[in-house]
Amino acid sequence: MVLSVENLSKSFGKNKVFSDISFSVNRGEIVCIRGKSGEGKTTLLRCLTGLEDADKGSIIINDMFLCKEENSHIKYAQKAELVAIRQEIGLVFQSFNLFPHMNVMENLLEAPTFLKKEAAETIRKRAEVLLKRLELEGKEDSYPFQLSGGQKQRVAIARACMLNPSVLCFDEPTSALDEQTRAQISKIIRDLASQGIAIIIVTHDNAFVDEIAQRIITMKDGFITVD
């Protein structure tokens, strides 16, 4: 098991987004979380990736606590630990959020270079391999505005993969893609899963869920109704 979520709850003021969510994901598993808009799927993803703090419950990634409940209060990991834990879980945003002033290669190199995880030459080589695998060869010097939606998404996937995450989350990955690009993305996701990366996809695209999911979690009114 690479990710375990236990009794996770989140509210914005008096508005309860989700309550007592529990599930776990295994290495190489593709899990789709589906539900209508406003059911709390994206907020759940944001809690998993550390963009939002949960109110209750625990998140365990690779046996490390991102947060846990202590004396009925949620406690997040210390800063140094937090940086290490959060590198284990990547996120591909719905709108990709590539850095517009950096070309494709710079987008990929920025985080691992800053975090000094490996030598610069090793990082660059890994980026080249990833770009080749994602069929982005020759696009190293292109800027995000010069890319199509599908290409931007693949760059976003490559950028997230540069930190070698154990879990990779996708927020509505098919929302802006045509049929052909969708098929390409689903192949890439399967490929990533076959390498042992756990995949969590939040989507309301039922056809895509049927096509790719190994497990489906359905959220309704802030609760998991089917797993």
């Binding site: 550390g50 002033h101 920025e110 505005f145």
Partner: protein, 218 residues
Amino acid sequence: MEAKVLKMLIPMALDGLKATIGVFALTLIVSIPLSIAVAKLRISKNKIISNIIGMYIYVMRGTPLLLQLMFIFFGYYRVPVIGYAFSREQAIFIAFILNYTAYFAEIFRGGINSVDVGQYEASQVLELGKSHTFMRIILPQVIKNVMPSIGNEVITLIKDTSLIYILGAGDILKAAKSVSNAYAAFSPYIYIGFVYLVITAVLTKILGKIENKYNYYR
């Protein structure tokens, strides 16, 4: 007559140009980096800091630069407890830097707020750290966004340097005034007007080049 006017005007104008360019350059060099820090403090979550900076910007934008120059040179030492008088040069630089920092800070604040929140979130997920995110991800996008407004202020600044005459400092406009008084002629003002136009043309060109430098992406 015109030859005499020019003979007197040129050396005085060159001297005055040194003051004009000096005030202009030092104000820019200090104000721009300072204004980025001030803009960050203005949008700080700490309400006390944000309000203090807001008040400073309000005072600087709400009173004329001429008055600020006069206050810092003539009025500041009269403030009880302080009892310290700035030299003419100090007063000029302090007034210009304080005033332009406030204007630039408001421009940068707008620029920072205009960057998509997704850029911060992507940086956070990639663990880029707050200062690295600001310097490498946010600031380059802010600079692109604010360049046209900064350009306007830069051109206003070159013209505002003429206000230093109020403290008795000699800039190019003062040179024109002195020669005009000496020969009872208006032409020195016209010549100096052309000098301002030439400086503005050079600045417009430079600013355009800087803007173009950031046009490599959208």
